[in-house]
Structure formats: C-alpha cells, structure tokens
C-alpha cells in the first residue's frame, strides 16, 4: 500500500497542471461546503441565543387557550396563577390594539411586562424612567414602519376585557434594537400593571409566563410548560431544512469536481495501458494495480483537502471574527441577523474531508475496475481494449 501511495504521489506531481486543475476544483468545493456549513451553524447558534435572550427565556408556561401562531387566540387565551413570582415566573400579557400614526391605522399587539423583570433583554426598565403619562417601548422595525421616533406621541385604541373600545395617547419612551422580528414588528411593549389597568384585568393575568430558571416541566392545570429546548426546536428544524437545500447546491459542485477526477482516471487508464501491463508482468496482482490507480485518484481529494484548508483557513478565520453582513432584513419571520458569525467545528472539517475523500475514492475506483478485466499481453502491446 505504501508503494501505491508513493507511486500515486509521484504520478500526480508529475502530471503537473492537470493535477492542480483537478485539485483546485475539488478544493473550491471543499471550501464552499465548509463555509456554508459554518454559516448555517453560526446562524443557528446566534438565532437560538437571540431567541432565548429576547423572547423565550428559560422556558414558558403558556395558557392552553393561547397559540402563538394563531392571533385569534389572543382574545381568550389568558389566565392567572397564584403568586407566579414565587415560582420564578414573569407574567407577559398580550392584547390586540391599533395605533394611528399620521392618520394611518396600524394593527398591533400590546405586550405587557414588568419593568423590573430580568428574564428578557427587552429594555422595559426604560418605562420606569419615562416622565410620560403612558410610556411605551417599540422595536426599530416597528418604529420604521410606523414612522415613529423616541418622544413621539400617537393615539392607541384597544378593547377592555368586556370588549369595549378605549383610546388614549401613548408616548414612545424608547426604541430597542433586536434581531427578533417576532418581538418587534407590530408590537408595543408597556408596563404590565398599566395593561392590567386599561383592560380591567386582574393582577398577574397573563397570556404566558416566562421562567427565570430552567425547568424540565411544570404541572399547572389549564397551562402547558414548554422548556427552552422545545421553544427553539424550530430553529434547528429550519437550519436542517436549509441544509438540505444547500446540499443540493454543493452536491452539484462536488459532482463537477468528481466528474473531472473520473475523466482524468478514464484517460489515465487508457493512456497508461502499457504501464498497467508492465505492473502485471512484474507480478503485481490486478487488485494491487487497481489499488494503485484508485489511490492515485483519491489522492486528488487529499491534496484538495490540504489546499482547501490552507487557502480556506484565512478566509474562515476572517469571517468568523468579523461576521458576514446580511443587510437590512424584512420585518417578519424568525430571527433575522444583520451579521452572521460562522462557526467551524472540528467535526465539520473532519466530516467534510471524509466526504471529499470517500467520494473521490469511489469515482477513482469505478474506472479502475476496468484494469481487472484487461489482458496483460494486449496491455503490454498498448492495444485498445
């Protein structure tokens, strides 16, 4: 086997440009696979972190009538548990309302939360410092779409617990910057005590409670506990879906690179029939000759992995440090990060290298199989077979 590697190495170096062209194409595929996987992992990690910090906390105890994907459940999907603070639960109440900036109607969700809370990064503490009669907090997406800025006053309309309309002027006490559109677009944050007051709801009434500490489960009648892992599971699912799409893309790229190796192998076996005949005449078994040619083909992938790592490392390191700007993101959907920091794990590098080497070995072996059927005499004569 050592001989096979030695011969393969010499042959490839001797082939010059032909070898390096194959290596470059394969190395490009290698870099792209690692890069894209890194980007995907980076987005996944960041999106999860942001979602935990800004939206889900350590877990949520949701009212059974509330479905976050169905806005029609907000009206009735709320309730109350006794002394939630003692259980490390922070109440969040959601109601529907509208605001009227410049005479245009904006449907919004009014989110009430205690300004002293510590479970989320949403800066509701700013509400405590405001001198306005009715201070509220909005995200930058909401501010942009409604053309609102800090200090602006706008009329807000809502319904109390009986369904009677009420309206008053609110003041934008602060604008926060979050990557999570779900807590920003169309959302108005306010002191939950104020929301209880204006809707006539009793203290501790909530759509859901956010847990300050990690819990596996909670057994409260009429409520369902969702732990942190289940609340961010959709991000993993999305990343997985994205990975499938990406696999098609770099599968095609890898196929092109492997096709080049396959072609090279076919040509190599055709042109080096005398050499093959000589090997057999010298006493090498056909299996060994096949092995020599297969190793030669798979060595492209080893070269490509080395070149890929050498050429890709500065690139990977640079992007891992500075991140990749994703530009302005639309104000809906899940975490949309303006800058993604790719994450490259050892597992990712090893698995990608293995993928490239194994696939290159397979495509090298396929044409080499022909050697096993060759007549050594004809091969020595260089006859076409």
């Amino acid at each position: 086997m050592r001989l096979a590697f030695k011969l393969a190495f010499r042959n490839l170096i001797g082939a010059g440009l032909r070898t390096w062209l194959n290596v470059i194409v394969l190395a490009f595929a290698f870099i792209l696979i690692v890069f894209y996987h890194g980007l995907n992992s980076g987005w996944n990690e960041q999106a999860k972190r942001e979602t935990v910090e800004w939206e889900v906390g350590q877990g949520q105890l949701r009212n059974n009538g509330y479905d976050p994907y169905d806005p029609f459940t907000i009206a009735d999907g709320h309730g109350r548990i006794d002394n939630p603070q003692a259980q490390g639960l922070e109440p969040v109440l959601i109601r529907q309302g509208s605001i009227y900036p410049d005479g245009r109607m904006f449907s919004t969700f009014l989110r009430g939360m205690d300004p002293n809370q510590k479970v989320l990064k949403v800066p509701v503490h700013l509400l405590k410092d405001s001198k306005a009669d009715f201070p509220v907090l909005i995200g930058k997406r909401m501010a942009e779409s409604a053309h609102l800025k800090q200090g602006d006053e706008v009329l807000m309309r809502w319904r109390d617990k009986h369904g009677t309309y009420d309206a008053t002027t609110i003041t934008v006490a602060g604008i926060f910057d979050s990557n999570l559109p779900s807590i920003d677009a169309g959302q108005i944050w306010m002191d939950i005590h104020k929301l209880w007051e204006i809707t006539g709801m009793p203290e501790n009434e909530a759509t859901f409670y956010i847990s300050a500490t990690a819990k596996e489960n909670m057994d409260v009648e009429g409520w369902t506990y969702y732990n942190q892992a289940s609340l961010v599971q959709y991000i993993d699912d999305l990343a997985e879906m994205d990975k499938i799409g990406a696999m098609i893309m770099y599968g095609l790229l890898l196929a092109i690179a492997l096709l080049a190796i396959f072609d090279t192998q076919v040509l190599s076996i055709f042109r080096r029939q005398k050499e093959i005949g000589t090997y057999i005449a010298l006493g090498l078994t056909r299996a060994r000759v096949v092995a020599i040619f297969t190793v030669e083909g798979s060595m492209y992938s080893i070269f490509a992995s080395v070149v890929g790592m050498v050429a890709g490392y500065p690139l990977f390191a640079y992007f891992a440090k500075t991140g990749i700007g994703m530009g302005e993101t639309p104000a809906n959907g899940i975490a949309t990060l303006q800058r993604i920091y790719p994450v490259y794990g050892v597992g990712l590098i090893v698995s990608t290298t293995a993928l490239v080497i194994i696939s290159a070995t397979i495509v090298s072996f396929l044409p080499s199989k022909k050697i096993a059927r060759m007549n050594p005499v004809d091969a020595l004569k260089g006859k076409l077979q």
Partner: protein, 247 residues
C-alpha cells in the same frame, strides 16, 4: 283671599299638565326604532369605499327579516361578485365563490373590516336594542342641515357595549337619525355616521345615504347608498337558509 290662592295653585297645576311637553330620550329612540324597522326589507345598495388613492364601489342586494336575519349577495365588481353573507342571530357565514367555500366568522374575525370599508362585521352584527345597552338622555336641541334635531347622549349601562357612549342627532319632524358619534371609554371620538337623503318608503322615513367614518383614520370613510328599497314584502324562508349561500 284664601280661596283665590287655592284656585290659583290648582289652576297652575292643571295648566302644567296641559302644556305640550317633548318626548323623553327613550321615547325618541323608540320612535326612531319604530320608524327604521320593518318586518322585511329588500335593499339594493352601493358601498363606496374611499381609499387613500382611489375609491371602489361594491354593489349588493340585501334581504332582511326582523332584527336578526340578514342575507346579502354582492353583485359587482367582478372580484366580489357572487360573494354571499348570511347572518342568523349571532352567527355569520360568508361564502366565497372563488374558493367555493363557506366560512363562519366568529370571535375576533368579526372585528375585521367588511371588504376593506370603515365598517366591521361586528358593527353589522350588533342587533341589541339601543335602550337595552344604553341609558339615554336629551342633551339639547340644535339644527343639522336646517332641520331641528334632538341631541341625545347615550351611556352604556352594560359592561359589554362595544362603544361606551354615543351621541345621536335625531330629526324632530320625522324621527330619523341624521348623525351618530361613537366614543371610547376615555371619551375619544372613534366613529361617526352621517345619514342623509331621507326618503319615505311605504310610510316610513329612511336615510338613503350613510357615511361611516373611522375618525382616527384619515380619509373620507365609506358611503353606503341605497339605490332601491322595498319594505314589508314577502321573502321566502329559503333566502335565510345556509343552503342559499352556495346556490
């Protein structure tokens, strides 16, 4: 002397009973209700929805029976043609020909706007009598479009009134409302309805043009123009049947 004083007092009391006094707020609302309601009604109308850039007109024919049953079929434009709406008491169904499906609107779906107008389905669904929901009092008398009107103030006496208070301007001569303002709990004016083009239909006075306006939004609101109205005409029971939606 004593006798003279006694006769004077009795005379004054008797005169006070003989003096013409106006109707109470409840009586006015009752009379408005009597004037505006009928056993059955067939109305051909146009709903003109004024948008920011342009206006669109939706033509429909509506059948109503009593206070609770209503059937509306949209006739134009092409996009809305064939859409039907059936309201029976507290239930509302909408049939859409494009999907060939009937859906029942309930809960918060009723708070959506009707065809993008300033009217919500809930506004259309409210069929409780005003006097069941509000305490009414006469605030004063004034003139609207040259007509003498009473200005009535209505304040909710139940918890679940959509609007906490209303103001109603009722024409004194024909007992027809000419204007209505709807207020939030805070006193903020939310919606205004202006009625005009009052015509007599089978002995009852009825406004043939209504403008509904969400006062918090810019724009001209939504006009509802009655082009033809028949009252107390027989309407087949099948009209108010769910099976009529898909016909």
């Amino acid at each position: 002397m004593k006798k003279t004083a006694l006769f004077t007092i009795i005379g004054l009391i008797a005169m006070s009973f003989m003096l013409p006094t106006g109707p109470s707020a409840s009586q006015i609302i009752q009379k408005v209700d009597d004037n505006m309601s009928s056993d059955t009604r067939i109305t051909e109308s146009q709903m003109i929805i004024h948008g920011r850039r342009n206006s669109r007109t939706i033509t429909s024919i509506g059948y109503s029976r009593g206070k609770y049953d209503n059937f509306t079929e949209y006739l134009a434009p092409e996009r809305e043609k064939g859409t039907k709406m059936l309201k029976l008491k507290d239930y509302l169904w909408i049939y859409s020909p494009s999907s060939d499906r009937t859906i029942q609107l309930s809960g918060h779906m009723l708070r959506q706007s009707v065809m993008g107008s300033d009217l919500s389905y809930e506004d259309m669904m409210e069929d409780r009598k005003l006097l069941d929901i509000y305490n009414a009092e006469i605030e004063g008398e004034e003139e609207v479009d040259g007509k003498k009107v009473w200005r009535l103030a209505l304040t909710a006496k139940v918890d679940d009134a959509t609007y906490h208070s209303r103001k109603l301007w009722v024409e004194q001569e024909r007992f027809v409302p000419l204007k209505e303002d709807l207020f939030a709990k805070s006193g903020q004016l939310l919606k205004r309805t202006v009625m005009s083009d009052i015509k007599k239909v089978d002995g009852k006075w009825y406004p043939h043009k209504m403008n509904y306006k969400d006062m918090l939004k810019d724009g001209q609101g939504t006009d509802f123009v009655v082009t033809k109205m028949q009252i107390n005409v027989p309407i087949a029971d099948e009209v108010f049947n769910k099976s009529n939606l898909k016909k």
